[in-house]
């Protein structure tokens, strides 16, 4: 199967929702092509709203559409749709508990050459802190499509974080994608790697490598960062005794933070965080950037070995 970006999966899902959900509408601030909402726009021109390069107005408009009973998908680059609009998302969307779906394409380093200003590395932290907001980061295009479709029947505000760069399919079209339910994508007993987005693939590759060295790593695809699947996280901590989190996002306030918040209060467990170390992005080819920012399978392997030393020490 050809590699495909999660944004493409979103575009397919949105198009399908056009048929199945007459109340679904879409908005974009001149980035509908990049966000893959163009097929929907062509198919349903009256249900697509161009608001110009005006993200704050886009979110407010989406709130109004939701007040009037629509299910708006508001699309832009992940940085702009969560960063410029934090206040609009807080008051107009979350405080009003509105059924607005916020779609951030080009999340993480995948925008690559455009550089730091477009590379969203803090959205999980921002979005996770908003009451009622659900935070989702699919790992491949198939999952992105399934979760996009699931969003429409999931009441309330949702943030969907997508990538620009094509990634191999990890999931199958028939796999479950239930919002709030983590998927164990590889079983293991010595350690658990909890990941989302592109890092699920890198974690699986790391687990392969570790298996060769006799280390049995469980891998969890935590596509829903909020509400977090506490049961899956706690079970992993209890059963494997060591946790590594992996995300294409700052190590502050993201998936790793969410997992740590659960475990610190239920089952304190040695942890290591793979992610961006409190810094901005930079220009480059996405594959090179993932290396430069230590988000590769070998970085997960290293974190696993570190955390296993901690686990040994704790025993």
């Amino acid at each position: 199967m050809v590699d495909k970006a999660t944004r493409d999966g979103f575009g397919e899902g949105l198009l399908e929702l056009g048929t199945t959900h007459p109340n679904v509408v879409a908005l974009s601030g001149d980035l509908e092509d990049s966000c893959r909402a163009v097929a929907f726009k062509k198919q349903y021109p009256t249900r697509f709203f161009s608001v110009g390069i005006a993200e704050q107005d886009m979110i407010g408009t989406a709130a109004g559409l939701a007040i009037a009973g629509k299910i708006p998908f508001a699309c832009s680059f992940s940085q702009f749709v969560t960063g410029k609009t934090l206040e609009q998302l807080r008051m107009a969307v979350c405080y009003q508990k509105l059924n607005v779906k916020v779609v951030g394409s080009h999340g993480g380093l995948s925008v690559g050459a455009d550089g730091a200003t477009a590379e969203a590395l803090e959205e999980f932290a921002h979005m996770r802190s908003l009451p009622f907001m659900t935070v989702i980061a699919p790992c491949d295009a198939l999952e992105a499509k399934r979760l996009t479709i699931a969003c429409a029947d999931y009441p309330g505000p949702v943030f969907l974080r997508l990538g620009r760069a094509p990634v191999p399919a990890i999931t199958k079209a028939s796999d479950a994608a239930q919002i709030g339910r983590a998927n164990v994508v590889r079983s293991g007993d010595d350690v658990t790697v909890i990941a989302c987005g592109v890092m699920v693939m890198h974690s699986l590759q790391a687990a392969e490598q570790l298996a060769k060295e006799g280390i049995s790593a469980r891998v969890i695809n935590l596509h829903t960062i909020k509400p977090i699947d506490r049961d899956a996280v706690i079970a992993a901590a209890k059963e494997t005794g060591a946790i590594v989190t992996a995300e294409e996002h700052s190590v502050i306030g993201g998936l790793g933070g969410a997992v740590a918040e659960v475990l610190a209060q239920t089952h304190p467990t040695p942890m290591r965080f793979v992610g961006v170390q409190d810094r901005f992005g930079t220009s480059g080819n996405p594959a090179d950037l993932l290396k430069a920012f230590h988000l590769m399978p070998e970085d997960v392997v290293k974190a696993v070995k570190d955390v296993l030393r901690l686990k040994q020490h704790a025993l």
């Binding site: 161009s50 704050q56 107005d57 408009t61 709130a63 007040i67 008051m91």
Partner: protein
Amino acid sequence: MTTAQPAPDLAAFRKLAVELRQTILRTIANAGSGHPGGSLSMVELLIGLYWHKLRHDPKRPDWPDRDLFLLSKGHGCPALYTVLAYHGYFPKEELMTLRKYPTRLQGHPERGSLPGIEISAGSLGQGLSMANGIAMADRLDQRARRIYCLMGDGEIQEGQVWEAAMTAHHHKLENVCAIIDANQLQQNGPVKQLKDIEPLAEKWRAFGWHTIEINGHDIAQVVKAYDEAATIKGKPQAIVARTIKGKGVSFMELNPAWHGVAPKPDELEKALRELSTVHV
């Protein structure tokens, strides 16, 4: 059901304005905090809507075909709460719970907490975008209701307002009517001194809106402006209402000190007495 009145009783409206101002001041004084200046400036603008133009039904606050009033300048909510209580959306006695835990009358309005409140507000500049979104949905659903959005003159320094102004014009949202309560002051002083927004009417016209400039305390002009706006096709309408912050109480009028302070008992008495001598 309250619907548009063909022949508004302007004398009754003038009397009502006095009574509403008195209730607003009592409500804020009882709360011990709040925003009297910006509440008093919008009284006639609300009367023209809630007693004349707005198709609404206090017994059915969720009536799907009702016209919508969105208060974007959320700090003016004591005026809106008072108007809603007078219409029976909730008991008048509940006005005395304003800002007191636990209350449905939040310091800035919360959608869903109180019948008649259409949007949450308090973070300025956001109401007009929501009005646009509602109008877009209504167009798809072929629903003919009108959406009114009241903003302050200080509030429209927020850039989002102008983004929304462009959106409404581009999408020809003829059911959207913006009302600017141009009461001349913002928290720290005159709008003109802090960041001048004039020429206001010309700005809205330049953004493609059908713009009507009125004296926002002349109820006849207010009613006429709403009637005119409702006839406009193909473009949104803006009513630039020239008003006086603190209107009706001489020591509050155009005095920035009364932006966000509740009157003390003696000040309340003085204000109520002055209002009771108004001849209408």
